[in-house]
């Protein structure tokens, strides 16, 4: 008996040790989550930042394979049959939680319909059209637009035009992805097709305005000379073309915009900053601001100054955009002037940032006097733009202390800044 107990204990020890020697599954070998996945009950053993990095790298392809990669719960739908999806949709449209548009139930409904549309757009559209609730049809039409295959985008545009009521109501519209895909498809065929699509959209009161995927080597200079594009741009529409051109060839795009503005007697700054609200990401905007700052060097001095003045009012709200624009100006004198203009603009909107520009653009000897002047020149009704304004007082005090401002004068500045509210 004692011998059996000893064997049991030794084997137990071996079992424990053997099991512990099995390496913790790494990101690469553990991913059981391809489409058709079964959620593994063996949770990944993640402990260190490196473990998480491997895990993120292994999970990323699972996300990227789907319509919207951030809806990671869409990944499992790859294994669902169309019948499964349809049955879940039929069930989901009656779930009370779907009336809250950001609820998990609502997200699930959208993911299901996007996936079905990706595979079988005709069946998905027919199902949507059969729903008795126009409100639900409108709510879900965006998923049809998001999931619609790009290769059938121009056909989908016909669908949108024939059923605008399903994609539009007084609260907004959801056809943008289809319009955009149709425009991208036209752009892929070259400037003439692109101009024809612009004309078609214009006639229907539609626009493609977000991040058009122009093919490499696209001839923007040719497009902007074609009739509809020229007309649209002269009216300040379709400026996403200029955004894309600016990203590919900033100097040529800037030269075109400036020459068009001169020709039409418009302000030299027209359209130069319009893309900042449209470009997709913060980093993209910052890069565009830097390209613009670098490209103005070839313009006449007066126009440079006009652009700099406009930049301080147009770019201040995006963190880093104004800084990138000013930092990229090659001429030191113009850069200094831009820093002062920025300080003047921001003194009522973002005092800590204004002080940074003042520091960069002025001589320490007359910095405090300039600050005094700027504060005196502010409009009386200057107000804070955000609820955290007062919380930034400490940052202002820190900068003033670094400038060796006497404490009583620093108090006076702070008082002046906040009395304006």
């Amino acid at each position: 008996m004692a011998r059996l107990l000893l064997i049991f204990l030794l084997a137990g020890l071996a079992g424990w040790a053997g099991s512990r020697r099995v390496p913790a599954p790494s990101g690469e070998d553990r991913d059981s989550s391809a489409p058709g996945e079964i959620r593994s009950s063996a949770k990944p053993r993640l402990r260190t930042p490196d473990d998480f990095k491997s895990w993120a790298a292994s999970r990323a392809p699972r996300l990227e394979a789907h319509v919207n990669w951030y809806t990671s719960y869409q990944a499992e739908l790859g294994a669902w049959s169309p019948q499964d999806i349809r049955a879940a949709l039929d069930q989901g449209i009656h779930d009370p939680a779907v009336i809250l548009s950001m609820s998990p139930e609502s997200k699930a409904l959208h993911a299901l319909l996007s996936e079905w549309t990706r595979r079988d757009p005709d069946a998905a559209w027919a199902w949507l059209e059969s729903l008795p609730s126009a409100t639900m049809r409108w709510q879900l039409a965006g998923s049809i637009a998001a999931g619609w295959p790009a290769e059938r985008a121009e056909e989908a545009l016909e669908l949108v035009l024939a059923h605008r009521d399903s994609f539009e109501n007084s609260k907004g519209y959801s056809h943008s992805p289809i319009v955009q895909k149709a425009f991208d498809a036209a752009a892929a065929r070259g400037p003439a097709a692109c101009d024809a699509m612009l004309a078609r959209l214009r006639a229907q009161g539609l626009t493609a305005s977000f991040g058009t995927d122009f093919p490499a080597g696209f001839d923007f200079a040719a497009l902007v000379r074609l009739p509809t594009a020229a007309e649209e741009l002269a009216e300040g529409r379709a400026t996403h073309i200029l955004d894309a051109w600016m990203a590919r060839d900033p100097q040529a795009a800037l030269d075109y915009m400036v020459s068009m503005n001169r020709e039409q007697g418009a302000e030299i700054t027209r359209n130069l900053f319009s893309g900042f609200n449209r470009t997709q990401g913060g980093a993209e905007r910052t890069e565009r601001a830097a390209r613009l700052g670098a490209a103005i060097a070839r313009l006449p001095e007066l126009e440079q100054h006009q652009i700099v003045e406009a930049a301080t009012t147009e770019l201040w709200a995006g963190p880093g955009n104004l800084k990138a624009f000013i930092g990229a100006i090659p001429d030191a004198a113009l850069r200094g002037r831009a820093q002062l203009a920025a300080a003047r603009e921001l003194i009522t909107k973002d005092p800590p940032a204004a002080l940074e520009y003042l520091e960069a653009g002025t001589d320490p000897a007359n910095r405090l006097e300039l600050l005094q002047e700027m504060l005196a020149a502010r409009p009386k009704e200057a107000t804070a733009y955000n609820p955290f304004y007062r919380q930034r007082e400490q940052a202002v005090r820190k900068t003033l202390a670094a400038w060796n401002t006497p404490p009583e004068r620093a108090d006076a500045f702070v008082k002046l800044l906040w009395n304006s509210r």
């Binding site: 071996a14 998480f52 996300l63 951030y70 069930q91 779930d95 990401g281 980093a283 304004y389």
Partner: protein
Amino acid sequence: MRRHLLPSILAAAAGLAAGWLVAHAPSSSTAESGPASGKSVTAPARHRTDGPEAPPARDFTSYAKRAARPLEQEEAEAAAARMSTGELREVLLAAPDIVWGRCTPEDYLLHIAADAAAAELFRREGVVSIEWAEGAGKKAANAALLKAGCAADPAAAKPHMQFFAETYGYELGWSFAGAALNAAALRNVNDLLQVEKLWSGGGFDYVPGFAADFDFPTYLARTGEPRMKETALAAWAARDPDAALAAFREGIAKDQHWTDAAWKIFNSRATLTSEEEAARWLCPALTGAPDPARSMAIANLGSDLAPSRVAALMENLPEDRDRLSLALGAMRSDMSGGKSSLATLQALPGEELKVQALAKACSGGRDSPYWLRSGSAEDRRARLVPLMDQLQISEAGRQRLLSAIPAG
């Protein structure tokens, strides 16, 4: 011989199995537990039951639960629950910077990991964890812990927003408030009201969900956030239409502010059934409301709904005065210079009501839509003519309408 070995083999096999089980048993040795703040905070991450592998259920309810907590979040939360405090901090310090508009799938996943680590660390240490992040000087770690803190214990975490704003700027401020609001709505009424009070004047209008046993009547009676009141009423109408409608009836009888909620509950009901059913359900409550709430609520519905959806309401309003209110509301929100009003006007029965609605809209008074108020009298006539053509208004009706346009 074989008989002699059998007990030894069985003992060895049992031992191996027992050893393996010991090695794989869930362990809490590395995961300190319990909030340091002493305040009740959110429950630890739930774990799906380990067991025989089965494909995930393919019904909507199960799938929506997985959408609420995707696989990656589940994995990150399970890992965080097993990690030591030091390991959690390391993961937070390694979190990628928050850069607006630039988020790769890898960064997105690492933020999920950071959020899971932050929630676990806050659960164990309370505000001490936020203070640690403030000292560590890492924006992403500080943001994740502040968000976790605002969600779990908003009163304790909110004062730390000041440090974050001063150090890193204010652009994430509303995401902390949103985390607090969303989590509180999933807990209970008192917590939600507390968050609204902490961020008073926050202009909150939306949450992704309410607790399963959320006490809507108490909340509607006590909240000071008008948009949140409408959201809650809509959610309640989806769960319990009769109870929500009774509350709406009672509310609109006493307080005109409830008129703004009419389209929200209509929408809620129409989403889950149909416009026709929602109209049949809501219209008696609207026509039973005292004036002026009655006409205001009906006009609001007209201005908030797509013209194609107004027809169902029109059919369920038996009195002409209500039909006119609805049509005038719809015309008021028409931004297409009259084109989108056509469907609403067509839904009015008979020519007389159509002419009355258009005449009122042409009068230039408070009820006039912008497209019949702006421009010269000539411009306004030009906008009216195509509508009259499409509605096939008689000559007498046309003359009445054209003369209703004030000169100048």
